[in-house]
Amino acid sequence: MLTIHLSIVVFLPLAAALLAAFLPARIGRWVVVAGAIGVLGYAIALIADFDRDAAGLQYVTDEAWISELGIRYQLGIDGLNLFLVGLTALLWVPATIWSAWRETDRQHLFLFHMALAETAVLGAFVAQDLALFVFFFDLMLVPFYFLIGGWGIGPRVAATTKFVIYTLVGSLLMLAGAVALGVLTASESGNDLTFSIAELAQNPLPEGTQHWIFLLFALAFLVKAPAFPFHGWVVDTYRATPTPVLVVLSAVLSKVGVYGFLRIVLPTMPDAAVYFQDLILVVAVFSVLYGSVLAFSQVEPRLVLAYSSIAQLGFITLGIFAIDDLGAQGAVMQMVNHGLVVAALLFVIALLTARAGGAPTLEQMGGMALRAPVLAALFLVITLATLAMPGSPNFVGEILILFGALGDKLVFGLVASVGVALAAVYAIRLFQRSMHNRVGPGAETHELGGLDLLAIAPLVAVIVALGVYPQAILDRTEEATTAQIARAVEVSGKTAERQASKPASASGTESHSGGSETESHPEVSEIR
């Protein structure tokens, strides 16, 4: 195994941006881009080098940070965050390049905030200490506040303020919840104060205490996701955010919330997670339906994506709170898929908007496929992935989630599967209106530029590759996702049922020790 210091991965973008701040803009942007590419290199090395059979964390960094508060600087990679780190690293490269070679006001500042955002997001994904996670989770908002407010479109200040207040209300409540979780666990167990997620998971709190702390966390993550009743910030933010920022915001930032459910909530508060399972599932299913229905009535392509993201994140939440191995694995898979697809779509939409004379509505577009076949072909691949065509990675992700849900939560699974059908409607409508039909009034149709191709083509390549070989993700995530939800599965009593229904299973005699052993499920084998 290679020695990879995660601190370098996390802080490389910020270091590059700080260095660039002292260089002339012409050279500085190369440095920032080099930082993003360096992170991508590290991420590829991580994925290649990752030991898929080992249990627990790899590449661990564990130092005391603020010993008085029991906060550790603890970073680590497992199957759960491996691909999210990869996604972050992959998407930040085109987003940075996109803005580095376009005319941007105060470019060095823009690139600085982009890099700070990458550092914060990576930090949140690899943090294994709850306080450190909260630290990065809140830090993320600072660069995005500046990016949307300083370089946005239209009423950007109102939009960015709304965005930050919405999400920060959630994360501040989570801060209180995190402190309470740490302190109460320490006083309950008599150990020293610690926020290490693994240690918190060892000593779960009494159920009553878990309940209110769970609600604080759930609120933070559902706002961030966004989920149905907490999505008030979405529309304004999607309208106002500049394209490269929206790419990472929509593709990566939204995943931090649902990732938090898997990383923190299910292991440390399993009783509460089971207790509130139905509530969260209702929220998830509502998000799927509400998002899908609104997505096909929008005329602005960006808003189609805004609402479809609500639906997709609802789907992911459904997978997580199905509290089932398959569901959780599908959720992780789908986090990556949605990130890739939505990022590629946003780049395409930015091009379409530019070709339609800057008009943001579908009516102004149309008929572009004729003169831009490469663009149309790429767009078609992305569209098919969005609607989860068999052969696309999204198909695998969604089917796993549905399998997970259909087991115990049949009704939720059935209702949510309507959302899959609706996705086809809005995705095809988006493609058709912009690529076929009559040529829009102000639309110019010409082919992709080289820089644009550089941003979009790699994403499409990754989508196709994952569609062909989804095992690349599933193999590496299975171990970790199973472990994360094991305790909640245990609480919900599902393991007992399943083992009873599988008398042939070899592990029938031993008592389940919290899911440390990996089982291969028949359903997964079928997909394989």
Binding site: I66, S67, E68, L69, R106, A131, V134, F135, F136, D138, L139, L141, V142, Y145, F146, G149, G150, P155, R156, V157, T160, T161, V164, I165, L168, V169, L172, L173, L175, A176, V179, A180, G182, V183, L184, S187, L193, L216
Partner: protein, 512 residues
């Protein structure tokens, strides 16, 4: 006659322990006398240097005297020189130094007389030192008055500015009401317990007088109200915005930080040391006050467009956060409060320094208009202000985040988890106005909607031309940058401060 004098045992005086008091009080007198000499060299250079030297001496002795653990009070038990007192004293001295630098080259100081101005400042600091170390009701009151009376004058020291005079008068009237209330309360406490020593009071409660004694409880309540005036805890905060706005800005910065720290020093000491037996009575009441303060302060700040008023309201809200540390009455609470006060020092100094820098060159005074588009015009000022606002709002990588974390930690550990949630909800409200300040600086030339109160146009106080850039005020820019750097540094590497804070409150650990 000779025999009589001989029979009086002279109290033993610990000169080293008293050195910070001597340095500031003595410095005050020296500066006052030196100020009688005319001449630009004396007035502009020598006096600030003398005053700063006095504070540096006081800092040195405070550091030398630093000794964790139990330390007996000096002067017959009247004054503690324990770590809590010394820690708070250091905050006062540093804030005093900042105020001296921020007042340099400022016309109003010369109008008022630099000697008197600086002398008052030092006298007020001496009062704070006494207050922070008071182990006795009499010392407490003397310290409080020595702190307050020079401040009344300092608030009115911009003698040509009507707002400043109004501010001084308002502070005098309301401050006196607060002092009277406090004195009344102290008298009740003395009447109930028969002792003025904190130790004596603590011992008397439960023995000579029951914990439910109405005279005693009335006394405690009145004393709390009197101190709440000084700490600008709602609903006794009404003077704060007007006084902060009218007072010369260096004095506002000084009051915002040092006076608040002094008030919290004595709140911590009085409640944890003299009334620990009564915690079941005062803790819920103070928790209620904290909640009210957090809500009122944050809501009040939303409508402000004067930066000084905004910071005043934000100071009210921050007082509410700080009160949490007093409410729980644990050592952790004391430490969290001490930590937060240092963070509060750094963030407020950064913000006020920028306000001063803009006020001196902009025709908009301290209106939000004066920092419009500062991100382009003067990034060296915009960054400190941005960092200060983010820190006050509690964003990570700043001292404000760690400070809030610590306070919430103390609240949850002290069985006041709900107060921790009140803190974060208050922070959520505060985003509205903190983020607006940032938006005005960075995001916009015309778009941010300001509250509709008409802006106040003033003559630039010091006669620099409006187009002057921050380089014309190097010392103020330097203070802003230093304070902002400290805010960030403490947010990333807080351990040195934690090491210092860990010793604070160890002297009366036994009583709590």
């Amino acid at each position: 006659m000779i025999d009589l004098v001989a029979a009086v045992k002279a109290p033993e005086i610990d000169y080293q322990g008293l050195a910070p008091v001597f340095a500031t009080a003595g410095g005050s007198i020296v500066v006052l006398i030196a100020g009688l000499f005319p001449g630009r060299g004396v007035q502009r250079v020598l006096l600030p240097l003398l005053a700063a030297a006095a504070l540096v001496v006081a800092i040195v002795f405070s550091v030398v005297n630093w000794e964790p653990g139990d330390s007996a009070p000096i002067i017959e038990g009247a004054l503690a020189i324990d770590t809590l007192a010394l820690f708070m004293s250091l905050i006062f001295f540093v804030t005093g130094l900042v105020a001296i630098v921020l007042s340099l080259r400022w016309e109003s100081v010369e109008d008022a007389g630099a000697g008197e101005y600086l002398s008052m400042l030092l006298a007020s600091i001496a009062g704070m030192v006494l207050l922070a170390g008071a182990e006795n009701l009499v010392t407490l009151f003397v310290g409080l008055e020595l702190l307050s009376i020079p401040l009344y004058v300092l608030c009115a020291s911009a003698v040509r500015d009507r707002l400043s005079l109004e501010s001084g008068l308002k502070y005098l009237v309301i401050g006196s009401a607060g002092s009277a209330t406090l004195l009344y309360g102290l008298a009740f406490v003395y009447g109930a317990t028969g002792s003025t020593d904190f130790d004596g009071i603590a011992n008397a409660i439960g023995e000579r007088v029951g914990a439910g004694d109405p005279l005693l409880l009335t006394g405690v309540a009145l004393a709390a109200v009197g101190l709440a005036f000084k700490a600008s805890v709602a609903p006794f905060h009404q003077w704060t915005p007007d006084v902060y706005q009218g007072a010369p800005t260096p004095i506002t910065a000084f009051m915002a930080v040092a006076t608040k720290a002094a008030a919290f020093a004595i709140l911590l000491r009085l409640f944890a040391h003299a009334f620990p037996e009564l915690q079941d009575d005062w803790a819920p009441a103070l928790a209620a006050l904290a909640t009210i303060t957090i809500v009122i302060g944050n809501v009040g700040a939303i409508g402000q467009r004067s930066l000084k008023r905004l910071l005043a309201w934000s100071g009210v809200a921050q007082a509410g956060y700080l009160l949490t540390g007093v409410v729980v009455g644990t050592q952790l609470g004391v430490q969290a409060t001490a930590f937060y006060l240092v963070a509060y020092l750094a963030m407020n100094v950064a913000a006020f320094a920028v306000v001063i820098a803009r006020e001196r060159v902009s025709e908009h005074g301290d209106d939000l208009e004066s920092i419009r588009d500062l991100g382009r015009a003067a990034p060296l000022l915009a960054w400190p202000m941005t960092i200060a606002m983010l820190a006050l709002a509690g964003f990570p990588t700043t001292a404000g985040f760690i400070g809030k974390f610590y306070l919430i930690d103390a609240a949850v550990s002290g069985d006041y988890a709900w107060l921790g949630i009140v803190i974060v909800l208050g922070s959520a409200i505060s985003l509205v106005y903190y983020l607006r300040v940032i938006a005005v600086m960075w995001m916009d030339r015309l778009e941010v909607k300001l509250p509709t109160i008409p802006p106040r146009y003033v003559r630039p106080v010091s006669g620099w031309s409006p187009e002057a850039d921050p380089r014309a005020l190097p010392e103020i820019t330097a203070i802003a940058l230093l304070a902002a750097a400290a805010t960030i540094a403490l947010g990333i590497v807080p351990s040195p401060l934690f090491d210092a804070v860990r010793d604070v409150g160890t002297s009366f650990a036994s009583s709590i």
